[in-house]
Symmetry: C2
Subunit: 281 residues, 2 copies
């Protein structure tokens, strides 16, 4: 199958590597707005060629993957669908879904589109961040599949089952709610933690000296690119604000317990937090 | 050299494994209050024997390592020093230092004691958490070394350089301040994040389904034991409250930017957070 990938960053690039590795794509075409990224993607062998004309790139492919930041997605997906014929399938891989689904709800080729979100990533970005095996064993969320044509859905299901990925079906609203809870808040928390440490610890050498694996793990997501995350927070603003308020409440509660030296209360809260161990062993 | 380790949990157990692996201890004696942990430590081969009498355990050793939670440390270290003779060396491996240093400041055998803190750990606890290689390549903080006898200090420096670890010298007050900034706050943040997600996401299967590597990494420290961390927060209360207030401030600022849709401001803050990448590449 010929696959066109629009956006050759971490997700688009890693998907190219996975599809090639599993023999699922015999020809990979890239579309990439940044010339340096396009050049690098060719160098790294992520794609076989770069197309500068979007329509031409779409017309040559069996499957088109839109892997640009979620704000760009809303403007890129409609013209992609315009150029899509009845035998082709289009997916996105964005971290928010409601705005995108609304943008193409009335599109005459809506049925060719399957909204997907692989629950996988790293803190790096750009074509150099592409890694083999990023998606294997992870969850792929498929959204509002009732609005996709059955044959298009089947192509996507078979493809991602082959990687293999676990498929999970959610409607767009549920997707945005649950990813705010489980994914988006941990980025906010990590950004704020990095800002905290950079503000308090003016001696950068001390951060380097004292950083243990635990600190590095907690602050890792703070290395993530604003070009990816600002649009996600923007698209999912109300859900993110809601879970962020809960997070502030939990932190303020821990602060209050420590301030008034309620160590039994603090112990009880930590035991409660430890419950995450049962869900993510 | 014969080494007695008091407290056979994650740190004490891992140190036993490292000392044995590097041929730095020919005999390892354990002291452990919980019979199940003592039994397990023997089974795992962390130590050669268990001593129930503290004085006897101390008298047999060249080096005594106190590896109990920091609140217990304050009561265990003085009787250990009471039983310590002029040729022996005692270290602790606790995450807070000022209270402990104050507790032994006037002890007649103060010179035999070297306060150390290895900047390494995991979210697990107990003898089963002991892992080979936990300390290799990490930083070992040595505190208030001017109050240790030069020969005792030399034994400790040679030992940990051999693992190998990087040695860093701080006074007790600086140690507690900087570890609050770099280590303790990331635990508070992770506990609060776990509590947030457990509160908002009532469908535990959803957490499991949607948890990516990023979420798991941010919430990993929330699996840490209250028996270890409540005493650390208690000992370092004022420093932890201070950095926690900064963390609340940073989170509230991100919330405010998102609430008023100041996406340029949000982008600027995330770029600032990304600066952590330069310190921890």
């Amino acid at each position: 199958m010929t696959v066109t990938i629009i956006g050759l960053g971490l997700i688009g690039g890693s998907l190219a590597l996975s599809l090639r590795q599993h023999g699922l794509a015999h020809c990979l075409i890239g579309v990439e707005q940044q010339p340096a990224h396009a050049h690098r993607a060719l160098e790294l062998g992520l794609v076989d060629k770069i197309e500068t004309d979007l329509g031409a790139a779409v017309r040559q492919a069996d499957l088109i993957v839109v892997a640009v930041p979620v704000d760009a997605m809303v403007s890129v997906l409609p013209p992609v669908l315009d150029a899509t014929a009845a035998h082709q399938v289009v997916i996105d891989v964005g971290s928010t879904k409601q705005a995108l689904l609304a943008a193409v709800a009335e599109h005459p080729h809506r049925g060719r589109f399957v909204a997907t979100h692989p629950m996988a990533g790293t803190e790096h970005s750009g074509p150099d961040a592409a890694v083999v095996g990023l998606f294997e064993g992870k969850t792929m969320v498929l959204c509002d599949t009732a609005n996709s044509a059955p044959d298009a859905l089947q192509v996507v299901e078979q493809l991602f089952r082959a990687l293999p990925m676990r498929l999970l079906y959610l409607d767009g609203a549920d997707h945005d709610l649950h990813t705010a809870y489980v994914s988006h808040i941990s980025h906010i928390s990590s950004f704020a933690l990095a800002l905290t440490v950079l503000e308090k610890e003016k001696e950068e050498q001390r951060i380097f000296d004292l950083a243990s694996g635990g600190f590095e793990s907690t602050v890792r997501l703070a290395k993530s690119a604003p070009a990816t995350w600002v649009p996600i927070f923007r698209h999912n603003r109300l859900n993110v604000l809601d879970v962020l308020d809960e997070h502030l409440h939990q932190l303020q509660h821990l602060r209050e317990l420590l301030a008034r030296e309620d160590y039994a209360g603090l112990e009880e809260r930590i035991q409660q937090a430890n419950h995450i161990r049962k869900i993510l062993p």
